[in-house]
């Protein structure tokens, strides 16, 4: 009896040791410490922006600068609205413009990119390789360098000074297509085959099988496309004041110099806050999909 117990014990200890090797508390602690340090550096600009928005003017100009606000006030926001009431176009118009550009740019891009990525990942057709290399090539085209041709094309299509000049080119960004294609390639063919055997049309297969399975991918794509569209100033295409986005108004206020530092801080806060909220909503929905549940190969 005693011997048997003696044999059993080392096995148990081994097992436990192995478990500890995988997940030691100290190791986890170290990792989180590291993450914490990196995180502080990342978060600092945001903390600055939030605090600056709440600082009264004398604190904004204080030197040496202080990160945290001492006497928080909403003065900057009321300043902003006073300033904006005097301006040519009401402030809400800038917000509306940005929303139109961002939402349609994001939704359109996600849909067009997913549609295009599906055949690139799962179909064979002539010219597939050429199309794919064009995608990669198009990403390389630095925006700065192609400014002039871009402007000429937009004018030629008669879209100058409309929202379309910003929205439509955004639908064809190469990066989203590339991302979606990489994710769709991982869906097992047999899954799609079973849908087709059950008589689903290609469109239905795409909509009910492919898209739900790559949900993390398109949510991620939405996050960074949203950010890209949100950051558009539209300086080169939009000339009418009532079409200009929020970012442009921030630039104008910033250009106003020291006197408008408070209002600029308030707008910066608004501009930074919305993408973060959008990020939080999308990111909390990025959860595991069930690609292979029920697969037996």
């Amino acid at each position: 009896m005693a011997d048997k117990a003696g044999y059993k014990k080392p096995k148990k200890v081994n097992y436990k040791k192995q478990k500890q090797l995988n997940r030691s508390k100290a190791g986890n602690g170290m990792l989180f410490f590291l993450m914490f340090i990196c995180g502080i550096f990342m978060a600092l600009p945001l903390v600055m922006i939030v605090n600056n928005a709440l600082k009264p003017l004398d604190e904004i100009f204080q030197y040496p600068p202080r990160v945290f606000v001492k006497n928080p006030t909403m003065e900057n926001f009321s300043d902003l609205f006073v300033l904006m009431n005097d301006s040519w176009v009401p402030f809400s118009r800038y917000i509306l413009n940005t929303l139109i550009i961002t939402v349609s740019g994001t939704v359109g891009h996600v849909i067009v990119a997913s549609f295009a990525a599906y055949p690139l990942a799962k179909h064979n057709f002539p010219g597939k390789k050429i199309v794919f290399s064009l995608v990669v090539l198009s990403m390389m085209f630095s925006y700065n360098v192609t400014q002039i041709p871009n402007y000429m094309i937009v004018t030629w299509l008669g879209m100058n000074n409309t929202y379309l000049a910003l929205i439509l080119p955004a639908w064809q960004y190469g990066m989203g297509l590339y991302l979606m294609k990489q994710f769709m390639e991982q869906i097992p063919n047999s899954l799609l085959e079973s849908a087709r055997l059950d008589g689903a049309s290609e469109f239905r297969t795409f909509w009910t099988m492919v898209m739900p399975n790559v949900k993390p991918a398109w949510l991620t794509l939405a996050i960074f496309q949203f950010q890209q569209m949100w950051a558009q100033t539209g300086n080169q295409f939009l000339r009418s004041e009532e079409l200009k986005p929020l970012q442009y108004s921030l630039q104008q206020i910033t250009a106003g110099g020291t006197a408008r530092a408070g209002a600029a801080a308030a707008v910066s806060f608004i501009i930074a806050a919305i993408p973060i909220i959008f990020f939080l909503i999308c990111q909390s929905n990025v959860i595991e999909t069930m690609t292979t549940s029920g697969m037996k190969d």
Binding site: N22, M35, C38, F125, M139, Q172, M175, T220, F224, V286
Partner: protein, 308 residues
Amino acid sequence: MSGGKKKKGMSLTGKRAVVGLLFISPWIVGFLAFYVRSFIMTIQFALSEVTVNAGVGGYTLKFNGLENFIYEFTKHPRFPQTLVTSLQDILIDVPLIVFFSLFMALLLNKKFPGRTLVRAIFFIPVIMNADAIVSAIEMARSAMMGGVSATSAAIAESSGSGVNMDYYLALFKELALPDSLLDYVVGAIGRINDIISASGVQIVIFIAALQSIPSSLYEVAKIEGATGYETFWKVTFPMVLPHIITNIVYTVVDSFTSSQIVEMAYDTAYKDQMWGLSSAMSFTTTVIVCLILGVVCGLIQKRTFYYN
């Protein structure tokens, strides 16, 4: 499908090809409209002498063959050197950014309270990168009294932290570590902030990739008694590999479009008014970067595992 009767003579693969083309057509239409023309125009500019017609508007092109390309490589004072430096920078940054973001994504993929918030923190640099916000922060900084610039210059001058870097570098050289490795490490440490702030999007892509790994694979690994190390190399890594390619592509594009060489092409066009030369520059660099990307991705793609 709707067109079924018409295409009766078609094989199944042929039908699928048509459907595929249908799906991709919205993208192709937009691509033709917005990008192909600008690509052709860039090549056109690169092969000719561009003169802007002052007063009248518009421009005239005079074909001059490969002259712009010959000029940029043989006569331009800085182009070849800048090209090499930019490529070097990209080659240093890309592996660091990709591995850092993979590591971060693995950490952020664990379950802990406030996970989404922490993820958001790592995305902040991307949001803060918008032109308007950068200039606003810049203004807030410069608004803080005129003395600031003088002070910071003084700080920069006297910032001897007590550690003599050259001494340690000499020590490592004594150990016969190759110079290039030392340069790499020193360069990497110097850029650590840039690297962290450039990995926002990559981290998010990796998180999505990790979330798409079916949990049944981990279950199997656990039942078979794989250690965490084995699970990572046999399950996580192969499943994430295609997205490592995505991230390499994204990182290369990202660091390329903000590199010195692109800035130089921009300056050549808008400051020196040499449109043809500028187009030639951007065409050359684009082709070179695409070639590098093609080779790297080809190598990784070969080792990639797909379900089918």
